[in-house]
Every structure is written in structure tokens, then in C-alpha cells.
């Protein structure tokens, strides 16, 4: 079953092309991650999915309903958490939740079981104003507010931005629990490492969807060999490495330099020779596993070369 179908969608604001030719499908009961930096077009795309914006071109259907024609139906079963947590700072935790419950025609009591895992953490602060909550707490409260009407689809726009690693981890655990209860969850994030926590991901940059697959597939698509070396004169070594044409990328990574070569043929042995030819001897070359950041950079490069 497909829950969301995005079909050739374009959206511009004046001269700025926010989303271009975006097409992908989100399966039902899936935790789907839209991965990309700020300004990639994630928010615009999410606003179109949640019926807040109309695409210039193409169409989007959510559980079979068209986002333009049937927007009222979609709004009934969609929970949306905008990028800036949409909370009323001058209302308390309890008041915020009750308010969102009433506007969806329900009560906190009726759907308490839905928000219980998250809300139980917030309950000690029931009477605290939302403005006095920490980032992690605000995020949890906003999630409760988006969940209170038992939505089929949950759309979360950068819920983990600016939130510390601990809260982020807890948040992802909660999302998995929600997914297990049958929800479809669409979440966007600029943190590449969070891709691993999704069932499926789409990589987005400059308004375009560059790739989409399961996280495992995305990682396994990364075929170029990746190595790590430790050097004393890091900046000098970096210059040298960059002058070698077969080396695709070299960048500093803490005390190390990470190096990606252009093909399997140029492996550790080849690298060792190249380095000693240039007077860098006795370096330890260790192969490293690509992470999502490497994949993302690769996807951007592939996408651009394929198009030009």
C-alpha cells in the first residue's frame, strides 16, 4: 500500500525554485526520512503534502486524496509539526495540549493512550509555560500536540534540529513506537546520521530529490574506496593529496585525513605508493566505512554529473 504519492512536483517562489521535479512514493506504515541541508526544499515539500501550499506543477496524493481538491479530508487525518515547534509560549504545557485537542474535536482524556509515552515525561511540568521549556521538552510537547487527534499520517519538519543528541535519540525511539502502532511517519532532518534510523530515505538538495531507497541500499551504493590516514602536517599533506587526480576527495577529519579515490583499482596499496612517491612515508592507511554524509556528497556529485 502506498500512503503518499508525489508526482513531478514543482514549486517556485518568484525566481527561487524551491522544489523541482520531485517524485517519490512513501509506503504505508513506514518511517520515511527526507534528508537534506537547510534550504534544500524540505519544508516546501512538506507544506505541499500537508495541503498548506499548492504545487505549481505535478500532484500529490495522500492516502488516495488529492492535496488540492480533497484538502479538507487530508487535514482530518494528518498530524503536522512545523519546523518551528508550533506551540503557544504563553500557554502552559497542559493548556497547549488541551487547545490542540479541542480544535480537532477531541479531548486529552479520550486519546491519552496515544500520547502517554511522551506525555508522561512532560506531566511533571504540566503547569509550566511552554516558553520556559528546554529544546528537548518543547519538541516532545509539539509532538504530543500533533498526535492528540490520532492521525494516520504524521509529518514532522526537522523535529530534531537544535536538540541535543540525547533528546534526539529518545525522540527517534518514540517515532519507532508510533510507527509500530500503525502510523505512517514522514520526517525531515539535516542530520545525515539520522538517516540510519529511517525505514526509507530520500536525499534532497537544491530542490531536487537526488536518490531514494532504504538506508542500507543507499550505503551499499557507495562503491568508491575510502581510507583514513594520520599525518603530522595535516594541511600540507592535504594539499599534496588534492594534487593527485585519482583522488576524488580528501578532507580533514579530526587528527585524520579521509580520502576517497575514484575506483576500486586505486586501493590501499596504490595509495601507499602514491604517498611515498611524494615523500610521505610511514603512514598507516586504514579503510573506513562510508557514512551517510559520504553518500550524500556522492549523490550530489552523481546527480550533477548525470544531468550535465
Amino acid at each position: 500500500m502506498v500512503s503518499i504519492n508525489i508526482n513531478g512536483v514543482d514549486k517556485s517562489y518568484g525566481q527561487v525554485k524551491a522544489v523541482q521535479q520531485a517524485s517519490f512514493e512513501v509506503p504505508g506504515n513506514c518511517l520515511f526520512g527526507l534528508i537534506g541541508p537547510d534550504g534544500a526544499g524540505k519544508t516546501t515539500l512538506f507544506r505541499m503534502i500537508t495541503t498548506l501550499l499548492i504545487p505549481d506543477q505535478g500532484n500529490i496524493s495522500v492516502f488516495g486524496f488529492d492535496t488540492v481538491r480533497d484538502y479538507r479530508k487530508i487535514r482530518l487525518f494528518t498530524g503536522y509539526m512545523p519546523g518551528r515547534f508550533s506551540l503557544y509560549p504563553d500557554l502552559t504545557v497542559g493548556e497547549n495540549i488541551s487547545f490542540y485537542a479541542t480544535i480537532f474535536g477531541t479531548t486529552v482524556k479520550k486519546n491519552y493512550h496515544l500520547i502517554k509515552p511522551v506525555y508522561s515525561l512532560l506531566e511533571p511540568f504540566r503547569d509550566r509555560l511552554a516558553s520556559n521549556l528546554s529544546g528537548g521538552m518543547k519538541q516532545k510537547l509539539a509532538l504530543c500536540c500533533a498526535l492528540i487527534h490520532n492521525p494516520k499520517l504524521l509529518v514532522l519538519d526537522e523535529p530534531t534540529t537544535g536538540v541535543d543528541a540525547v533528546s534526539r535519540k529518545e525522540f527517534w525511539e518514540t517515532l519507532h513506537q508510533l510507527k509500530d502502532s500503525g502510523m505512517t511517519i514522514l520526517v525531515s532532518t539535516p542530520y545525515m546520521d539520522e538517516a540510519a534510523r529511517c525505514d526509507r530515505i530520500a536525499l534532497m538538495q537544491a530542490g531536487r530529490i537526488m536518490d531514494q531507497d532504504t538506508p542500507g541500499e543507499i550505503l551499499s551504493k557507495f562503491r568508491v574506496p575510502l581510507f583514513e590516514i594520520r599525518a603530522n602536517d595535516r594541511l600540507g599533506t592535504l594539499e599534496i593529496l588534492r594534487s593527485i587526480p585519482e583522488i576524488k576527495r580528501a578532507y580533514l577529519f579530526g587528527q585524520y585525513i579521509h580520502i576517497a579515490t575514484d575506483s576500486e583499482r586505486h586501493g590501499a596499496e596504490w595509495l601507499k605508493t602514491q604517498l611515498s612517491n611524494r615523500g610521505i612515508a610511514n603512514v598507516k592507511i586504514t579503510p573506513v566505512v562510508a557514512d551517510f554524509e559520504d553518500c550524500f556528497i556522492d549523490a550530489v556529485e552523481n546527480y550533477t554529473t548525470h544531468r550535465t
Binding site: 541541508p37 537547510d38 534550504g39 534540529t161 541535543d164 543528541a165 542530520y191
Partner: protein, 243 residues
């Protein structure tokens, strides 16, 4: 390494807001030319400490020297010797790149010929000559942050404070950004940085991790990982901050 000069020295720093203790007896040193990671969960007290180190607020007690100057009595001297950049405020959106750089040069009292010369150098170095006249609001976030960093170190401060400088920046630009940081550090500028990206913690020479107002751990990433018997800084962080 141990012979390096201390540039920030914090002894028993305490900051209270009413009954709430935001910084509970912090003691640590930062070495000259070091990249020092200042980590902690939201609300652990990082921002409070940074504000004190930048001379923006007074500590409740403790002896703190920044670049040799006392945070109680020599705040003006401190401000002249530091650079600051945060994710939220860095550049004026309705000025173009060149104007922003010049403006900051002017703030630090550089002569106009020096400003002009350094501005050109900087734009050249950042490879932004083509768009030097473009308004900041019209350029991508990643570039903006690169410009912002260059502006923060434009007056060659002794220390630069970076408060979550790379949030939301695309991976490639983030790596370039870090290269600028390394280059600045190689020139002898001390870099004091906070971040939510745990892989960036690995980029630092030494990392401190705060929880509930206290520094729970301070060491190089490698030692921290070994001490806690884990493979990544992410795990170190979770172990400490979740206690």
C-alpha cells in the same frame, strides 16, 4: 603538547540564577591554538558559560582569565581579543558580502586601507569574487556560515567562539567549513566550539562534556572513547549526558 600556553583559564566558575545553579564549579583550561569542543545537552549550561567567557555576563564567583584578561574587570580587552559567531546571529541579511566584511572590520577599529586590502584578500580566499556584491539573504546557508566565520576571525582575534556554527549546513560545505577552522587554528587562533553533531566532536583536539551545570568529562576524543569503552563520540555523549 603539555607545554602549550594556556589561553583560557577557568577556576571554580559558578553562575547562579536565583536558586538555580547554571554553572556548578567549572574548572578547565584551553590551550593556545587548540580546537576545543564544548558539548552538552540542551540546558546543561553551555550558553551561560560562553556568555561569561565572552565578557557578556558576570560569573557569580570563580577566577576566569580569557587571553590573560579578567572577566570581572577587563571585559573591553576581552572583547577586543575574541571573535564570536553563532548559528542565529552572524551577518546582516540586507548587506552584501563585501559590506558585511567591511562593517565588522570597522567595528574593530581597523584602518580603512587595511579593511579594503583584507576584504579583497578574504573574498579571494573564500572564492566568492563573483558574488561579493550579492546580499547575504540571497546566498545559501553554507556559504553564509563560511563568510560569517571569516568575519569572526577577520580582526585576527586570539580566540574565536563558535556556537553551533554548522547547524543545517550541507555536508560538503560543512567539511569546507571545518577546513577553515583548521586553517585558523594552524594560524594560532584558539577555537572554542559548541555543536550538536557528534562527529564534529571527533574533529576537536579536546572535548568537554557538560551535564547539569558540571563538566563530566574532558579529554581528547580518542581517550574519551577508550575510557568509556565505546566506538563513537555519540556513545560517549549518551553515556555521560543520560546519567
Amino acid at each position: 603538547m603539555n607545554q602549550r600556553k594556556t589561553i583560557i583559564s577557568v577556576n571554580n566558575l559558578v553562575k547562579k540564577f536565583g536558586g538555580f545553579v547554571a554553572n556548578d564549579n567549572l574548572t578547565f583550561d584551553v590551550h593556545e591554538g587548540e580546537i576545543f569542543g564544548f558539548l552538552g545537552a540542551n540546558g546543561a549550561g553551555k550558553t551561560t558559560a560562553i556568555r561569561i567567557l565572552c565578557g557578556l555576563s558576570y560569573p557569580t564567583s570563580g577566577k576566569i582569565l580569557v587571553s590573560g584578561f579578567d572577566v570581572y574587570t577587563q571585559r573591553e580587552e576581552i572583547k577586543r581579543n575574541i571573535g564570536y559567531m553563532s548559528q542565529k546571529f552572524s551577518l546582516y541579511e540586507d548587506l552584501n558580502i563585501r559590506e558585511n566584511i567591511r562593517f565588522y572590520g570597522g567595528i574593530y577599529g581597523m584602518s580603512s586601507s587595511a579593511i579594503r586590502r583584507k576584504t579583497d584578500e578574504l573574498i579571494e580566499e573564500l572564492d566568492l569574487s563573483d558574488i561579493a556584491g550579492t546580499l547575504i539573504r540571497d546566498i545559501p546557508l553554507g556559504w553564509r556560515q563560511k563568510v560569517a566565520f571569516s568575519v569572526a576571525v577577520f580582526h585576527e582575534p586570539k580566540i574565536v567562539f563558535l556556537d553551533e556554527p554548522t547547524g543545517g549546513v550541507d555536508p560538503l560545505t560543512r567539511r569546507q567549513f571545518w577546513e577553515h577552522i583548521y586553517r585558523a587554528a594552524a594560524r594560532g587562533i584558539t577555537v572554542f566550539i559548541t555543536t550538536h553533531y557528534m562527529d564534529e566532536a571527533e574533529y576537536c583536539e579536546r572535548v568537554s562534556i557538560m551535564a547539569e551545570g558540571r563538566i563530566e568529562a574532558l579529554d581528547s576524543p580518542e581517550n574519551l572513547k577508550n575510557n568509556y569503552g565505546v566506538k563513537t563520540m555519540d556513545e560517549v555523549f549518551l553515556k555521560i549526558a543520560r546519567k
